[in-house]
């Protein structure tokens, strides 16, 4: 079997890399993605490692790149994704990259500052322009007003407007300030002025129609022009302070209209000039960003790769001679050739003459678990790994889960119509894989559904099959082969007389003996009032049968484990009693289920014994008096034998294994296999790998001992307790897990009932109307039916059945053989790194 059945054989390898070649070799290994480096300096602080400076420089580069990216995005320039995957540049190129980034960053910062200053200037000039325009109307209004009312006042305000300094003893001298303030702040500003100056100031304001751009944030703000008239210096200072507090900008406004006109013209020219400069600055900035946007993705990849390489180099040990770096890594044995090639390539690239060396090491540590998966199997492997990563070299349930998981889902889902929709959805996602892969990466829910596209496709396909068997197509049955139940011989008077007739299968004209509907459930049951009674019996028995089958298969997988780890004691003392225990009790139950189906028909149904009572009585050693109530002859003896056999299995499970362990310990032999630390040193000039001259790799240590030092103490009590717990867990688990499989019945019943409710309460009512009314009502009712079907039956029930199928696998199936105590093989791979960042 391919490596999916068990983990790949992994080996610990030691790499000797020349200091100059190290960088290039690590780069090649990163591209390959097949080795997992171990940290040889776990006690060293991150700041004391050898390459910390380089990592810091890479961090700086990344920061600059991020700044540039932000600017590019703000300017709305699309970042070109050429799909190129550049190699990590050599260290000398890093300096060039740093210089480029530095230059770009400085340029951008400068341009940004300049632009800000220019914009601020522009804003001031614009506000001044508005002020000059609006205050013109204030002064005119004030003049007109005063002229009308008071000639004396008019004279003096006239004088004011004309800017005539000499007033000649006029007691009132109005000063004014003009400025601009945010529109929102204006009412409070007015009120504050009124209160603070005790009503002795006069405020006029008008709105600026066009919003102005704030130089810092770039937002559009609405502002108003205001002018405040007051008398005296005290009021002037008060007004100025209030303006400051409300962040209103004040502008010097000339008093005479002639001066104002001059100023306005000057301001207009300056605004025009500034606008040109601003446009040019904007263009320049855009050009810089566009040229940066072309390369930024490539730069990001390069920077990240360099950083990853230096992080990895930090894990290495420096040799005593300071000439070469030593690395330890886990790698799959089957890929050692490719790793060798990568090392050779790296050494050549760096121009070093000394080849890099890879030595295999033996160790007692448990290697990481590596399952080679492709895009199809990886989803199912992920399901298994979510519960626990397989221990090294133990049986991987994933290849079986590929089929059993969708199958159990389908047993609970069981509707061909809904299955069809689900299968089509899965098919669409699989067909459009490549396009959909790059879209909508940010949406988490979609990513989950897309990641499970193969699972959804299989679940849908199996649901179509089970839907046909359950004869359930959107809660309706199909009659393809002709029902096995016939009404032809039911008399018409009976039909008139009785509201409800229960057909008797004993009557040959109604049901011909032993001629069931050939494929699935008979469609007549869809219309029967006692449909659920029949279905319950069928589905419960089916659930238990499937459950016992899956659990027996799980126990058989544990035998495969014992044989691989060369543990004959367990094979005999654990596997056989476990299997016997399960089969004697629940295998027997499955057998009598089948027997009762075949041996008893309607003619003797009155004396068909209840299977449940039979099982209970089997354990109570209670047997019926009359010969009729037995299922088969010899039942009494056979059942007693089975019970005794099952009970006899329990002490076997409890005592045999600890006994053998104790005996082996006593006789001084270590039956758990010996492992030694071997390090093959000796670098040769031409040798590249120390081949298997130590013979075959010793089989990996059995799960019980992995990771421990050689045990000097041997605690029989601990072993007995451990074994007892496992035995109790197994025996009680047999019963509870078998019952747990009844959820297959429960969920399929729930699904069928929900489906029926949707039909009878929604679509049926819609289709019940005739004529034009019917057409309209149906048009309205069908979307409601469709939405409810998808939301309730597909999404909710789908998730529910998914969850329960998952639980059945994780608990009921895997507890029979799976330890799941391994750790995942996480190779140093640039591909994985880039995916993480995306």
């Amino acid at each position: 079997m391919g490596s999916l059945f068990r983990s790949e054989e992994m080996t610990l390898a030691q790499l000797f890399l020349q200091s100059e070649a190290a960088y290039a070799c690590v780069s090649e290994l990163g591209e390959l993605g097949l080795v997992q480096f171990r940290d040889l300096n776990p006690d060293v602080n991150a700041f004391q490692r050898k390459f910390v400076n380089e990592v810091r420089r890479c961090d700086e580069m990344e920061r600059k790149l991020r700044f540039l990216e932000k600017e590019i995005r703000k300017a709305g320039i699309p970042i070109v994704d050429t799909g190129e995957n550049p190699d990590a540049p050599p260290p000398r190129e890093m300096i060039d990259l740093e210089a480029t980034f530095e230059k770009l960053e400085n340029e951008m910062k400068e341009v940004n500052t300049n632009q800000e200053a220019l914009k601020r200037n522009f804003l001031e000039l614009t506000e001044l322009k508005h002020i000059l325009r609006k205050t013109q109307s204030f002064f005119e209004e004030a003049e007109f007003h005063h002229q009308m009312q008071d000639p004396a006042l008019a004279e003096e305000s006239h004088a004011l407007l004309l800017g005539d300094e000499e007033r000649g003893g006029q007691p009132m001298r109005l000063g004014f300030v003009a400025g601009v303030i945010n529109r929102e702040r204006l009412p409070t500003f007015e009120r504050m002025l009124w209160r603070a100056c005790r009503g002795n100031v006069f405020l006029r304001q008008t709105e600026i129609e066009t919003p102005l751009e704030d130089p810092v944030t770039g937002d559009q703000v609405h502002k108003c022009v205001f002018i405040i008239f007051f008398q005296g210096d005290q009021l002037k200072s008060r007004v100025k302070k209030i303006c400051e507090g409300f962040r209103a900008t004040l502008y010097p406004c000339p008093e005479t209209p002639a001066e104002r006109r001059e100023m306005a013209i000057g301001v207009m020219t300056r605004i025009e000039d500034l606008q040109t400069v601003l446009n040019q600055t904007q263009d320049h900035r855009h050009r810089v960003l566009v040229s940066a946007a072309k390369n930024i993705r490539v730069w990001f990849i390069k920077a990240r790769k360099i950083k990853a390489i230096y992080h990895t180099l930090n894990l290495f040990n420096l040799d005593v001679t300071q000439k070469c770096l030593i690395a330890e890594c886990w790698c799959p044995v089957a890929d050692l050739e490719r790793i060798q090639l990568a090392l050779r390539r790296g050494t050549e690239h760096s121009g070093s003459s000394v080849p890099s060396i890879l030595n295999r090491m033996t160790t007692k540590q448990a290697p990481p678990t590596y399952h080679k998966t492709n895009k199809f199997t990886s989803a199912f492997q992920a399901i298994v790994d979510s519960y626990g990563v397989a221990s090294y070299c133990e049986v991987n349930p994933a290849p079986f889960t590929i089929i059993t998981f969708p199958f159990l889902f389908a047993v609970m889902f069981g509707d061909a119509g809904h299955g069809l929709i689900m299968a089509l959805f899965g098919l669409w996602m699989v067909w459009r894989e490549k396009q959909l892969m790059n879209q909508r990466k940010d949406d988490g829910t979609w990513a989950i559904f897309f990641g499970g596209r193969y699972i959804i496709l299989l679940m849908g396909a199996f649901s179509i099959y089970t839907g046909f068997i359950y004869n359930d197509f959107f809660s309706k049955s199909l009659n393809i082969f002709g029902s096995s139940w016939s009404m032809a011989n039911i008399s018409d008077e009976d039909i008139e007389k009785y509201d409800m007739i229960e057909l008797d299968p004993n009557v040959t004209s109604i049901y011909k003996p032993r001629s069931p509907y050939p494929f699935g459930l008979d469609p007549i049951w869809n219309m029967a009032e006692n449909k659920i009674t029949f279905l319950n019996s069928f589905k419960m028995k089916m659930s238990v049968i499937l459950g016992v089958l899956q659990m027996s298969f799980g126990i058989c997988l544990s035998l495969s484990n014992y044989r691989f780890f060369k543990d004959p004691v367990s094979s005999v003392s654990v596997f056989i009693p476990q299997l016997l225990f399960l089969l004697c009790i629940f295998g027997y139950m499955v057998a009598i289920i089948f027997y009762k189906w075949i041996a008893y028909d309607a003619s003797i149904s009155y004396k068909a014994p209840s299977l449940l009572i039979t099982m209970i009585n089997m354990f109570l050693f209670k047997f019926p008096e009359s010969q009729d109530d037995y299922l088969y002859s010899g039942q009494k003896g056979f059942q007693i034998f089975l019970v005794l056999l099952a009970v006899a299995c329990v002490p076997c499970m409890l005592f045999i294994k600890p006994y053998f362990a104790w005996r082996a310990h006593k006789s001084g032999k270590r039956t758990f296999g010996t492992v030694q630390m071997q390090v093959n040193g000796a670098a040769e000039d031409t040798a590249v790998i120390m081949d298997q001259d130590e013979g075959e790799m010793p089989p990996p240590p059995p799960e019980g001992v992995s990771g421990h030092k050689e045990e000097e103490e041997f605690d029989i009590g601990e072993l007995l307790i451990y074994q007892a717990i496992h035995t109790i867990e197994f025996c009680l688990g047999c019963i509870s897990h078998t019952a747990s499989y009844l959820r297959l019945w429960a969920l399929s019943l729930a699904h069928a009932q929900l489906s029926e409710v949707l039909w009878s309460m929604v679509l049926h009512i819609g289709l019940g109307f005739q004529g034009w009314v019917g057409a309209v009502v149906t048009t309205l009712v069908f979307p409601a039916f469709a939405v409810l079907t998808i939301a309730i039956l597909l999404v909710m029930e789908g998730l529910s059945a998914f969850l329960h199928a998952l639980r059945l696998h994780w608990v009921e199936f895997q507890s029979k053989f799976y330890k799941g105590e391994g750790h995942q093989f996480v190779p140093f791979s640039f591909e994985a790194l880039m995916e993480d960042h995306n």
Partner: protein, 102 residues
């Protein structure tokens, strides 16, 4: 209502000599068993060599076993039914009419 029962789409196929189609259990049993046997025990040998051979073989055998057992359980449970369907007299009337029509 008329639509109530008819909508369950009872398409009945007829044997000329009898009121309803009678198929014993032998033919379906043999056909289906052979079908899944060929798929489960025969097709795996035909899978071309490649890295995924083992997985595909496992998948085929598992599918065959699961689907066959499921069908077998459904058929056997209906082989000798101990109870019959309880139908409304209107349903019986329509089915009887459709059976004796042709």
């Amino acid at each position: 209502m008329v639509t109530n029962e008819v909508l369950c789409s009872v398409l009945v196929s007829y044997d000329d000599t009898s009121h309803f189609k009678m198929v014993g259990v032998a033919i379906p049993l043999v056909v289906v068993t052979l079908f899944w046997l060929i798929i489960g025990a025969g097709v795996p040998w035909a899978i071309p060599k490649g890295p995924n051979r083992g997985v595909i073989q496992t998948m085929i055998v598992t599918t065959a076993v699961c689907c066959y057992v499921f069908w077998l359980v459904a058929t056997l449970s209906q082989l000798n039914p101990l109870i019959g369907p309880q139908l409304k007299n209107t349903v019986i009337k329509y089915i009887k009419w459709s059976e004796t029509e042709k």
